[in-house]
């Protein structure tokens, strides 16, 4: 197949359009979106040749792809607080390090049994050791379970693994041109990385408590400024991490963590999420486009064995370690399932081996094949971890781990229901909030300006209702009534349309007679006709002061 050289915009367009087509085609079969993206990459890359490897190496494409990862990890940081991370620190460290040691050792033995030579075995077993942070975090985000206990432990484990990756890369960098280990380079690299990690962590802690609250409180009055500040803060951490030899993921995560304590964190999550969703597609499609699976045809048996090792062996090791820390059987299982795949780093690592001539191209293809199989299978395992857990429990397969029965966490706080949501804290919004509150209604006030939410007698939420996620976070579908006092026709109209379709009563501000019909057509149950009310009262007032007769 002839491969075409394309410009940045063309390549990006092809990736996006291919992703949409494959996602839509595979919807019927309930294929997780990340698998569809990887399949789209395989289609436009190795299969159809629409995008060349050179186009994927393009600086701009890789920047967009990296930005997707950075924003994803920034979101993870925003989702978690320092306290929540601290709670799972010990188990994450033990499981992360323990798994690296056991998987590497087990993988090495298995590779030798399968007949690979020592160098190939070292490369394959190292590649099998690391799980994909991006894949798992994306799936947990899709399931909205990043904040769950098992989600937090998984994130902690992946961060530990990221540090181990840094160590491995540092050792690789220490391999001099004559293939001998340069101890001083390694020591310097490790010192820089761990020193940098400590420094970034300190900056993160200080910033969260002392540096950021005031300036971000000021910036929150302008949604765009807040967004740009946050993203700039994230990239400042990413660059700092890069300078210190750490991964961009760690930098972005710590940047998010430092903002997570601020009142604007939830609003930021909703703002960053759409941008991440678009950029991360480029990462997954690129991943698929880079897979060259053809050379792996001679290793079908080995691929099956190694894939099973990752899909079953890795969770087995994790289950054992996490259960030892007293976590329940369910939490241990859910967490363990998240590591049943290999990472994109495995491809990079194997590519480096091919480039240096330490392994051949077929080994790289084998690792790519194992990567594709394990990512695809683990995506299903994570998305359907509930039914899978029920099945293995019923079969009694988890008894061997002797994990604690019961639950680690109480369920979510009682979900808000039967409440009244009031959007737009102008004079009308505040007046309605106060009146409803006095009547004993459970009210939730929403506005984009943090200053307008101050001093209200009810729970508040910062955000724009034009983001569907804001309505979801406010549990609008379970609300008794949603009221918008905004003077923005498009926002009110869309709100009425969305909520009437969901069967939720909605009242909107028809601030001008020209918008009345549109609001009714959109499905509003009640119109706040402020000008009409004002006009009627003017007549009454004229009568009251005796200027016109009754």
């Amino acid at each position: 197949m002839e491969v075409t050289e394309r410009s940045f915009l063309e390549a990006l367009g092809i990736m996006m359009i291919a992703a949409v087509i494959i996602v839509q085609l595979s919807r019927r079969f309930r294929v997780p979106s990340i698998i569809s993206y990887i399949l789209a990459g395989l289609a436009v890359g190795p299969i159809l040749g629409l995008i060349s490897p050179a186009a994927l190496d393009d600086e701009a494409i890789s920047t967009v792809s990296e930005m997707g990862i950075v924003l994803l990890m920034f979101l993870v940081g925003l989702e978690l607080s320092l306290d929540r991370i601290r709670q799972v620190g010990k188990v994450a460290l033990a499981a992360g390090v323990g798994q690296v040691v056991f998987t590497a050792a087990g993988g090495l033995g298995l590779c030798r049994l399968l007949g690979f030579d020592w160098m190939e075995s070292i490369f394959i077993s190292t590649a099998l050791t690391f799980s994909s942070t991006v894949v798992v975090v994306k799936l947990l985000d899709q399931k909205n379970e990043l904040h769950s206990l098992y989600g937090r432990i998984a994130v902690g484990i992946f961060l530990v693994q990221d540090l181990v990756v840094v160590v491995v890369l540092t050792f690789l960098a220490g391999l001099g041109s004559n293939d001998s280990l340069d101890a001083s380079t390694i020591a310097l690299g490790l010192g820089k990385a761990f020193g940098g990690m400590a420094l970034l962590l300190v900056v993160c802690l200080v910033a969260a408590k002392h540096l950021l609250p005031r300036p971000f409180g000021w910036a929150a009055r302008s949604p765009r400024l807040l967004f740009v500040w946050s993203v700039a803060w994230c990239f400042a951490f990413v660059i700092s991490a890069h300078v210190m030899g750490l991964s961009a993921e760690i930098g972005a995560f710590l940047a998010g963590l430092s903002i997570a304590q601020l009142p604007c964190a939830h609003d930021l999550q909703r703002r960053v999420h759409p941008l991440m969703s678009a950029f991360i597609v480029v990462f997954f499609v690129s991943l698929g486009a880079q897979m060259r699976l053809g050379d792996a045809s001679n290793y079908a048996f080995e691929a099956v064995i190694l894939s099973l090792f990752v899909l079953i062996g890795n969770p087995f090791i994790f289950m054992f370690i996490i259960a030892r820390y007293g976590y329940s059987q369910r939490t241990s299982f859910y967490t363990s399932v998240t590591v049943a795949q290999i990472s994109e780093f495995s491809f990079i690592f194997a590519s480096m081996g091919v480039a240096t001539g330490l392994i051949g191209a077929p080994i790289l293809a084998l690792i790519a094949l194992v990567g594709f199989v394990t990512i695809a299978a683990s995506a299903y395992m994570i998305l359907y971890n509930g039914p899978l857990y029920a099945l293995v429990t019923r079969l009694g397969l988890l008894r061997v781990f002797r994990a604690r029965q019961g639950e680690d966490e109480a369920g979510e706080d009682a979900a808000r229901t039967g409440h009244v949501i009031v959007v737009g804290m102008n004079a009308l919004g505040r007046s309605i909030v106060e009146a409803l509150h006095q009547r004993g209604e459970e009210v939730l006030a929403i506005d984009t300006d943090v200053r307008k939410l101050a001093g209200l007698p009810c729970p508040t939420k910062l955000g724009s209702i034009e983001y569907p996620a804001v309505l979801a976070a406010a549990a609008a579908h379970r609300a008794k009534l949603v009221v918008s006092t905004l003077r923005i026709e498009s926002a009110n109209r869309m709100l009425a349309h969305r909520l009437s379709a969901a069967g939720v009563p909605v009242a909107v501000h028809a601030f001008d007679r020209t918008v009345v019909d549109a609001m009714r057509e959109a499905g509003a149950d009640y119109l706040l006709r402020s000008k009409k009310e004002g006009g009627a009262r003017l007549v009454d007032e004229l009568r009251r002061i005796g200027e016109v007769g009754a």
């Binding site: 915009l9 367009g13 740009v228 941008l275 009534l481 003017l538």
Partner: protein, 525 residues
């Protein structure tokens, strides 16, 4: 990644300074990007260029999405005349001055086109911020800038045909037809089906919108049209309700990100114009800011707008915006514009966008209203005494007029000519004009009136009326309690819309959601 970090870092600082100094974001970001380059920050030129390309594409897409054509329906004729007149005036000036300024005619055409494109995003932002989005003059201005975008992009496609043969002309014409057809199909069938019926999750919807953008851009590319033409058509095809509302919700973040990225990367790739171009810049600034607005004012007024509304409208159009810069970038890529000329467009855009807030500002506009000669007011030939004056005959004013008509002597002031004609037909004394203008108010004898009732929206207008009416009682409709306090301080009376509307809402709420017996102690007895 370092380049992106630098661009975002400087943007973060610049935006904060811009907000403190109340300067337009676009201008501040361009200046910040330029400073980054001057300071020698380690920027990767390829990344800056690709960022500019990607963000320009998204920006034009967002411009297309921003205004639902339904919002300006019924005003396209007047808006089209305004848009065309501004383009023709600038084209004439550019071509006329080209030999004198040493600019080639083709370059002059690109410059005229670039300067004709007012910033839609800025106009929308200012109107929303001032709460004027639904005023009649605002709809006309929005219609004009929307049509300008459309005409500029079509003209840009036409300019690309210079030096090309028949075949290419056919390709371009076919491309325009294909984009229009695809836009109609997308707008009427595909987008409503996919986005409202297929039950896609948020990520799938975002991906669909982005893919539509790239599909249109690809189509434009295949047909030798500027990529931004495809982006604009894609945006416009997704602008209609309810799809438009959904899409706007998804791309809000994109808008924040790409607007920032566009202006700051533009500044970072800015080549300043030669000092010798100062004359040309000065000329175009004067034409855009002074000459063209005064050509447009009569056209606005012929449509029935008051002098004040006309000045506010032309003040908003007296600028060159982001699309103008995109036009210049396309001209540069075609070799029809030089880098210093691009720099000239950027400088003019930066300066005019910086001042547009001032030129359409209330105080500035009032200053002009008082200084400009105006037509002699039509004499009110009905003796007015012990009458009620109603200022503003919108929704509230109409309730009053209907109630009072025939019961008391009535005089109404409104700036909408159709309202005035209708009232006159009913035998009501009606004056067309701005009720907060003392000269207009004076024509209905406020000193002899029983009471003056104002339903004007802006607090400043109402305070002016209270002051102008002296001892005559003034009753004002305001939205917020704080506004009522300001009116009362000057001796006026006020009714507060928000409190009245809350009361009416609570009546409906109690009917719709009757409280159970446990919540009502009285009923338990």
């Amino acid at each position: 990644m370092t380049t992106i970090a630098f661009l975002l870092g400087i943007a973060a600082v610049a935006m904060a300074l811009g907000i403190r100094a109340k300067l337009p974001t676009a201008s501040v970001l361009i200046a910040a990007g330029w400073l980054l380059r001057v300071w020698g920050a380690p920027l990767d030129d390829e990344i800056v260029r690709e960022t500019l390309l990607l963000s320009a594409t998204f920006l034009v897409f967002l411009v297309g999405i921003e205004v639902d054509p339904g919002h300006v329906a019924g005003r396209f004729r007047r808006a089209g005349a305004l848009a065309l007149l501004q383009m023709l005036a600038l084209g004439a000036v550019a071509l006329g001055a080209a030999p004198w300024l040493g600019i080639e005619p083709m370059h002059a055409l690109y410059l005229a086109l670039a300067f004709s494109a007012s910033s839609t995003l800025l106009v929308v932002e200012i109107l929303r911020r001032r709460g004027q989005f639904y005023e009649p003059f605002a709809r006309t201005v929005l219609g004009a800038v929307l049509l300008q975008d459309f005409l500029v992009l079509l003209a840009l496609a036409g300019l690309g045909l210079v030096d090309s043969g028949f075949d290419q002309a056919m390709t371009v014409a076919g491309g325009v037809v294909a984009l229009v057809t695809a836009g109609v199909l997308l707008s009427r069938y595909l987008a409503p089906y996919v986005l409202t019926r297929m039950n896609l999750d948020e990520e799938e919807q975002i991906l669909f919108v982005v893919a539509v953008l790239f599909a249109f851009v690809g189509l434009a590319h295949v047909c030798d049209l500027p990529l931004v033409t495809g982006a604009f058509f894609a945006g416009h095809a997704l602008a209609r309700f309810p799809v438009g509302g959904l899409v706007r919700g998804h791309v809000l973040t994109f808008s924040d990100f790409f607007i920032t990225a566009f202006f700051v990367s533009l500044g970072a790739s800015l080549v300043l114009p030669n000092p010798s171009a100062l004359l040309a810049e000065g000329l175009f600034l004067v034409v855009i800011v002074v000459v063209v607005p005064f050509i447009l004012v009569p056209l606005f007024r012929r449509g029935g707008a008051s002098l004040r509304s006309s000045l506010e409208g032309v003040g908003l159009m007296a600028q060159c915006g982001e699309l103008g810069i995109v036009v210049a970038l396309v001209g540069l890529s075609r070799g029809h514009l030089s880098e210093p000329e691009l720099g000239m467009v950027i400088v003019v855009a930066t300066v005019t966008m910086m001042f547009v807030g001032l030129f359409s500002n209330e105080r500035f506009v009032w200053g002009l209203v008082h200084r400009l000669p105006s037509r002699a007011p039509r004499v009110v030939d009905v003796p007015l005494n012990d009458h009620v004056i109603v200022i503003g005959c919108g929704e509230s004013g109409r309730v009053l007029v209907d109630e009072l008509h025939g019961k008391v002597g009535l005089a109404v002031i409104d700036d909408d000519p159709s309202v005035v004609s209708e009232l006159e037909a009913r035998g009501i004394v009606a004056v067309r004009g701005d009720g907060s203008d003392a000269a207009v108010l004076g024509r209905v004898a406020p000193e002899r009136a029983r009471v003056v009732v104002s339903t004007m929206r802006r607090l400043a207008d109402n305070l002016r009326i209270v002051r102008a009416c002296g001892r005559t009682p003034v009753l004002v409709r305001v939205f917020a309690p704080e506004e009522a306090d300001a009116v009362r301080e000057l001796g006026g009376r006020a009714v507060v819309e928000s409190e009245l509307t809350t009361r009416a809402f609570l009546g409906w709420f109690d009917d719709r959601f009757p409280r159970g017996p446990e919540a009502d102690p009285g009923s338990a007895a």
